[in-house]
């Protein structure tokens, strides 16, 4: 039965040993890091922090040592990541490279691509963004229109990507684009590693409703790509992206986005909660504890070399419900008025995450898409 994929497991001792090292590092590097910035969670950008983390060997851990990685097990990486997320560390600069672009290059890239990108990724110096969604292609990713036409041993790319987190700060994008016509819905697409400084590329930040600019539009106007920029096999883009998304969805960031608010809430409530506060905080604690155990079970699947896609979708959907309910519950538990400026740490973090919350079930695959994936795994589709 598919539920059997969720087998409780403990973190191995060697991975667990990293925890106190990371906590100590964070205590030193983020001493006066304000709560409001911690609330940005993995969307917070800080190149200097990423480089410091890289110097400690904690970026690109899963990559081989020959590239500056640590050949680390999924559990070792998990311990480091969850400590960073729980503390609200500003990891977004290297986040995508570490989580998926690096592994993608390792898996599908040429030796030249690996040699060129992976060491820089591991140093926390090379930043990637993900080029998938387009204005006409969100949930229906297979309907993308950006097109790279062959021109000798080069490609000419035209089109547009949207909702690209961090594109403004990234050095490279791994983009899914059409490279040929195909009868099959999922055929005719390929992935390219695109240098975002190339002529013809325009990046325009998109302001979200909080005023933050994490998202971007990226326009390609006759951008000349090298044949060597293709990653993996031509026409295999969809299969490659599917593998990438399974990895993207399997981490602990899928339920830790509102940790900063849970922390300020507990601090605000104090040592003697009233009955409602105790009950709600207790319930949230039970859910957090269990989501973490579910996430560890997914990590075990990665460790065993199994496809974690179904289980990861369960954790992501349940996790985003949890992340979204934290602001809703928090605002019921104290009389704090949320503030987008001024006020206390709690009132600021409350307002910020309350506004960010709708995005938790949109990014990385919408709720409706995830539930379809889960249903398919149950044999209902």
């Amino acid at each position: 039965m598919t539920i059997d994929q969720f087998k409780y497991c403990r973190i191995p001792a060697d991975a667990e040993r990293l925890r106190s090292e990371v906590r100590q590092f964070l205590q030193q590097t983020l001493t006066d890091f304000p709560a409001v910035r911690r609330a940005d969670s993995w969307m917070g950008f800080d190149a200097q922090f990423s480089r410091k983390l890289g110097a400690r060997g904690w970026v690109g851990m899963a990559l081989p040592k020959q590239y500056g990685g640590a050949d680390a097990s999924p559990f070792s990486r998990y311990v480091v990541i969850e400590e960073l997320l729980a503390a609200g560390a500003p990891v977004s600069a290297h986040w995508f490279a570490d989580r998926q672009s690096g592994p993608q290059i390792l898996q599908y890239g040429t030796q030249e691509q690996r040699d060129f990108h992976l060491p820089a990724i591991c140093r926390g110096e090379r930043y990637f963004c993900i080029g998938m969604s387009e204005p006409g292609s969100g949930s229906d990713l297979a309907s993308i229109k950006s097109r790279a036409r062959p021109a000798g041993d080069k490609w000419i790319l035209n089109g547009q990507k949207v909702w690209t987190t961090n594109a403004y700060h990234a050095h490279y994008m791994i983009a899914l684009v059409r490279t040929s016509d195909s009868e099959s819905r999922h055929g005719g697409m390929s992935q390219f590693i695109i240098d975002l400084t190339l002529p013809g590329i325009t990046v325009r930040p998109i302001k979200d409703l909080t005023g933050t600019e994490h998202f971007n539009e990226v326009f390609f106007d006759n951008v000349e790509l090298d044949g060597a920029d293709l990653i993996g096999s031509e026409g295999q883009g969809w299969q490659q992206v599917t593998a990438e998304l399974a990895v993207e969805r399997s981490g602990p960031e899928r339920f830790l986005s509102s940790m900063a608010l849970l922390n300020t809430l507990i601090e605000m409530v104090g040592e003697h909660p009233d009955r409602l506060q105790a009950r709600e905080i207790g319930r949230l604690t039970a859910r957090l504890f269990t989501l973490r155990n579910m996430s560890l079970a997914v990590t075990q699947q990665l460790q065993d070399g199994n496809n974690p896609s179904w289980a990861a979708s369960c954790v992501k959907d349940l996790g985003s419900v949890f992340e979204q309910e934290i602001p809703e519950i928090a605002q019921l538990l104290t009389e704090t008025l949320p503030t987008s400026s001024g006020g206390s740490d709690h009132s600021r973090v409350l307002a910020y995450l309350m506004q960010q919350a709708p995005s938790f079930s949109l990014r990385g695959g919408t709720r409706e898409i995830l539930r379809g994936i889960i249903a398919r795994g149950l044999g209902l589709r």
Binding site: I266, G282, T285, A286, R287, T290, G379
Partner: protein, 346 residues
């Protein structure tokens, strides 16, 4: 031991606990032949140490047993026997093989070697021969009481129609008693009850999931199986998430309860499984339509137990309250370390 327990018991339950048997237990209350089969299998003693007549099984080993009790709606106090014999074993008392139960809610007084007071809501109270209870005073004591010695019984049944009886004792000498092991809390039967019910609920939820997935693929309306409708798919997807949460949390509670019950995982399991129980019963009935609402169809054997078990040995509210107070007391800086350590800070 877990795997061998699972395959042995699954076969035994498949052979001896079909739906018809559970339905007849609803009519007759107690099935003595079925208890004999359980007793002969030795499973009721498994949680006691070997030197006291058991198999020395851990809660990790017993997780699959508890899941199966839930999956098959076993209408007998096997979970209660496992809990009772585990507590007795910790206190140096030999395992009991006769039909037995536990009394987590008890107001008992110990005086001159005799026990007086009421055991409340004892599962299968009127049918079992012995009940394990704790006299919770300055020197807590575990006692085994013969139900035949009670002076009064107040009978009730839970939502699933299973006996939950109050037994009143007046200066009854227990068959055996001993000081409660000092590693066990005075409310160990409540904590242990929460653990076993969480695992039973996880098993029942799994079966609700299986029945529901099967049904929606079979039932055709508007020219196609109702499984093809997105609304049905999404409802069962959400159910699957909660079934997985119940299962992992119950397994964590069992695996982490080694020498003693692991309180944080046990609380989390009871809270998450209880929440899942409501969703499971609701979704299961929703996708089954009217046929699932009948007495003849087996869904209610599971859902009525889910509705019962979520409230027993501490509801989600009660445990959430206790957990919330505990984490607020130690404060925000200890919060995340509590989660990663799996133990409440003292």
């Amino acid at each position: 031991m877990r795997d061998v327990f699972e395959s042995t018991l699954e076969k035994l339950f498949t052979d001896h606990v079909p739906v018809e048997t559970v339905l007849s237990a609803g009519r007759e209350g107690w099935l003595p032949e079925l208890w004999n089969i359980i007793e002969e299998s030795g499973f009721a003693l498994a949680s006691a140490p070997e030197e006291l007549g058991g198999a020395g099984a851990s809660w990790d080993d017993l997780f699959s047993v508890l899941l199966l009790c839930g999956r098959f709606s076993l209408p007998l106090p096997l979970p209660e026997s496992l809990l009772g014999n585990w507590v007795l074993g910790k206190c140096g008392i030999a395992a009991l093989s006769a039909p037995m139960s536990v009394a987590a809610e008890a107001q008992l007084i110990w005086e001159d070697g005799a026990v007086s007071g009421t055991l409340q809501q004892v599962p299968w109270g009127r049918y079992v021969q012995q009940v394990v209870a704790i006299v919770a005073d300055d020197a807590p004591r575990v006692v085994v009481l013969e139900t035949a010695a009670c002076s009064e019984r107040v009978l009730s049944t839970n939502t699933a129609g299973e006996a939950r009886d109050d037994l009143v004792f007046k200066q009854t000498i227990p068959t055996v008693s001993a000081p409660l092991s000092n590693i066990l809390a005075a409310d160990v039967l409540t904590q242990g009850g929460a653990l076993v019910r969480a695992a039973q609920m996880a098993g029942a939820l799994q079966e609700v999931m299986r029945l529901s997935s099967h049904y929606v693929n079979e039932r055709v309306q508007f020219g196609k199986p109702i499984a093809r409708f997105q609304v049905v798919q999404h409802q069962l997807a959400v159910l699957a998430e909660h079934v997985a949460a119940a299962r992992v949390s119950a397994e964590a509670a069992c695996v982490e309860s080694t020498d003693n019950l692991a309180l944080l995982p046990v609380m989390a399991a009871k809270i998450c499984a209880s929440e899942a129980a409501g969703i499971g019963a609701s979704s299961g009935h929703a996708v089954h339509g009217a046929i699932g609402f009948t007495h003849e169809y087996s869904l209610h054997l599971l859902t009525r137990r889910l509705w019962s078990w979520r409230s027993e040995y501490g509801s989600a509210t009660q445990w959430s309250d206790e957990l919330g107070r505990a984490v607020c007391k130690t404060g925000a800086s200890r919060y995340w370390p509590t989660i990663t350590s799996g133990a409440l800070s003292q």
